[in-house]
């Protein structure tokens, strides 16, 4: 009998999360009776041993019943003791002077952030977020005071985005720290943070940041709409949100950008983009995201313009190499050998003698091997890392060539491709897949296939929009003034306007700020 009941009970509770109501009634109000409140809280948090319920009496003389609820580990205990319990316990209250709650809220609690609420739901949420809830007898309101403090990662340079010159701060997992980091960069009241909560089980806090007079208000609204439409169990990382709010879910290309560094996000906000910060992850999303942004790095703007321009071109070149080189190599050596100079052809032909695989198979195998190596390299424990990379790269490569399994030009091609794919880190996933597609096309139909594939990819890219911005602007539709930040890196004194397509407020700085040495009075 028992089993039957439990089984049916289990079945009920394992319903799909279409029915996502928590284990209490959302819209329940608090009651005036403190004991009832206490009972409710205990019932909600049953079997939750990290909950602290501290019952005490407020006021020296009056002794009003009260209890505070908090979750251990999420609070700054010393602070709670000093600034909540102590002042309340030693409070001087006059009877019939004022309602207790008001006195407590306005005069007794030494805390910066405090809220008053009627609803049970808010209280529970507050507790779960690390606040301390204070219930007072005879009041149907609860006070939620913020004494948050939990161990968090310190602000270090992010591993994925390191720079030679520039700030080395990176975001951390705590939303408030992240917003603080942004605030430190942009000291402007127009920088707005709008908080939202997503994820039915996880109730993750996210914050939508934008600069009011620069960003396009329609886009901001669109972002908010899309985020509020998310109706899912959990949001553990911003990547989840990214997939819910992106424009082209079937596309290979990302239409939402991300970064770990506050200076990058701040720069993007200043261009008129909108950022989405997620609690629990240091990666902040930015929308709209254009293709060319993958080639812009924060360091470009701190180093000198000529070098940055050169490095930009190098990035474009590396990207093209990493996408096209294997496909072109296969296409030309199997279909269009007449395109190679004779001596090159002889070298490649001679190294291809005796290789058991046709070129396309060779290329695919090498590609897979390379990807395996790369993936393994990411997960290696540090101690073993160096040895394995040496083994992988040198020994296997060398041995494979000597054994006659692959030809050395193929190894060269693959190595070059692989290295190039790391020059533009944000697009690594895109390049890998595209490379494979083009490689297969090349194997089947040579240069013809590659070029058609290329045309197809460009067509696809052209049809993408990221929050209303054409994906390939400013290249197509051509916007020459925006190109100053794409093809070259114009010096700062020349960057007069923000990217036109993103914001209507385009003037960024005074014109003709080019520096010059002080002019003599006699000079004409």
């Amino acid at each position: 009998m028992n089993r039957l009941i439990t089984r049916s009970g289990q079945k009920k509770s394992s319903q799909p999360t279409g029915n996502i109501s928590p284990s209490y009634n959302n819209s329940a109000a608090l009651s005036k009776d403190i004991n009832e409140n206490l009972a409710t809280i205990k019932k909600i948090f049953i079997n939750t041993d990290d909950l602290i319920i501290r019952e005490f009496k407020i006021g020296r003389e009056l002794q009003v019943n009260a209890f505070a609820v908090m979750l251990v580990g999420l609070i700054n205990e010393a602070s709670v003791n000093e600034h909540l319990i102590r002042p309340l316990m030693s409070l001087h209250l006059d009877i019939n002077k004022e309602p207790t709650l008001k006195v407590v809220k306005e005069s007794a609690l030494f805390v910066a952030s405090i809220k008053e609420t009627l609803k049970l739901d808010d209280t529970v949420r507050g507790i779960l977020s690390g606040d301390t809830a204070l219930f007072i007898d005879e009041t149907d309101r609860a006070l939620i005071a913020s004494f948050r403090g939990w161990p968090a990662r310190s602000i270090v340079e992010p591993k994925t985005e390191s720079v030679v010159r520039g700030p080395r701060e990176g975001f951390v997992e705590s939303l408030s720290t992240n917003t603080a980091l942004l605030r430190r960069k942009i000291k402007n009241p127009q920088l707005k943070f709008e908080k939202m909560t997503v994820g039915n089980q996880t109730r993750t806090d996210i914050s939508i940041a934008y600069i009011n007079n620069i960003a396009d208000s329609k886009t901001v609204q669109e972002v908010k709409d899309r985020v509020s439409r998310i109706d899912t169990d959990s949001i553990l990382e911003s990547g989840y949100i990214e997939e819910f709010i992106e424009d082209a879910p079937y596309s290979l290309f990302p239409t939402v950008g991300n970064s770990e560094k506050p200076d990058i996000i701040a720069a993007k906000l200043l261009e008129g983009r909108i950022a989405v910060l997620t609690d629990g992850t240091p990666f902040v999303l930015t929308v709209p995201y254009l293709f060319i942004e993958a080639f812009q790095d924060s360091e470009d703007y701190y180093a000198r313009p000529y070098f940055s321009t050169f490095v930009r071109w190098l990035r474009w070149l590396a990207f093209l190499i990493s996408v096209f080189l294997p496909a072109l190599y296969v296409a030309i050596t199997t279909f269009h050998q007449e395109l190679l100079p004779t001596s090159l052809l002889i070298s490649i032909a001679s190294s291809h003698e005796g290789i058991p695989f046709p070129t396309i198979v060779e290329a695919v195998l090498m590609q897979i091997a390379f990807e395996i190596l790369r993936e393994a390299g990411l997960r290696l424990p540090k101690a073993v890392g160096q040895a394995v990379s040496i083994v992988g790269a040198l020994v296997i490569g060398e041995a494979a060539v000597s054994a006659g399994l692959v030809g050395s030009p193929m190894v060269v091609v693959m190595a070059l491709t692989g290295i190039s794919s790391f020059v533009v880190p944000t697009l690594t996933d895109v390049t890998t897949v595209t490379r494979f597609i083009l490689l297969l096309l090349a194997g089947f139909s040579g240069l013809y296939g590659v070029i058609l594939g290329f045309a197809g990819i460009i067509t696809h890219q052209l049809s993408l929009r990221s929050y209303g911005q054409p994906y390939l602007s400013p290249l197509a539709p051509l916007n020459v003034s925006d190109l100053k930040d794409v093809i070259i890196r114009a010096p700062w004194w020349a960057m007069n306007t923000r990217p036109n397509s993103l914001s209507k407020n385009s003037r960024r700085q005074k014109k003709s700020l080019i520096p010059h040495p002080p002019r003599e009075e006699n000079d004409t």
């Binding site: 050596t333 199997t334 050998q337 490649i348 032909a349 001679s350 291809h352 003698e353 040579g446």
Partner: protein, 396 residues
Amino acid sequence: MKKVLTTIACILLLTMLPGCWNRRELNTLSIVQAVGIDRTDTGQISVSLQILKPNAIKSSTSEKDVGSKSVWVVTSEGETVFDALRNSSMQTDRKAYFPHNTVYVLSEELAREGIGDELDLLGRDPEFRKLPYVFITKGKAEDIIRSSHEQEKIPGQAIQKMAEISFATSKIPKINFLELLKNLASKTNDSIIPGITLVPDKSEESMKNFVKLEGTAILKKDKMIGWFKGEETRGVLWILGNVKSGILVVPTPNDENKKSGIEVIKANSRIVAERVDGNLEITVNVHADGNLGEHMGHEDLVNPEDFKELEELMASAIEEEIRSAVDKAQEWEVDIFKFGTEVHRQLPKEWPELEKNWREEFPKIKVNIVVDTTLHWAGLMKKSIQPPTKEGGENQ
């Protein structure tokens, strides 16, 4: 809608599955470096192909046996050139691959009968490019293809490079296939093709033969009619403006027994066509710049008077070469100087008439030769190595 898409996708995949028709792995190609065309005794066409062996090149980092093993030669016969070429696949295990071919050699025997027919394939088939160099050989083309070269692993490439340095003497023209085609397509021009012969290797007792460029074949339309020697060829090249360098041997001023060599630096020509007294007259103006390259003798030639005399000697040497070429060409009735094109340009109104009878008109043209020369430098020495003789020389 979905069904339609899936069927289309299936069709696409099916067509792609067997792999594309045109795919050729590298080790299924025979890379041809030189092509020779002969006429056999039975009247058929014999084709010789010099094919690369990438294996040999790969492993020949040690210079044990350079040249002989990197290529091999396949000869095959057929009724037409195309037929013969395809027949060669019966001996090679890989299909012949022509885009990297750089040399065509035709035998004189074939050329005398007319090469236009044989060359059709080479212009029509896309695998044959238009930049390889063309040569005619006195003997059999096959022998040239079989020859080897000391300095290069691949004899075909050696021949190509020889053609490219032919400007050093300018006694041999450098004709690529395109030039030939252009001339053949023109109604009035005739062609010249460099000649190539075999020279036995004098070292050791090896059986190898080396190639050498020698002579120029003259074609009337597409039939070969004769050979020009080195100087006559240079005469042609002076007119065509193709002389880039070369050595003119002139007698030393003040001493007819000794010779001096003048290095030609630059030369160009201008052709003027006009009607004089109802006759067509063409004036060839050649301007040449040179340096004193070699002076065999005791005299000190680096002075204004001697230089002037050298210039005159140079001019007359050039004029002689040109004259010999023109005379011979007019005798054979071949317009190898592209006079026809020039007359077209300069006397357009008369050209349609002239064009029809150009073959007869050409020998009637009175050709004036005007040569203008300048000598510039004299190398590192002002005076000759040997001390001057007692007469007229300076002390020390």
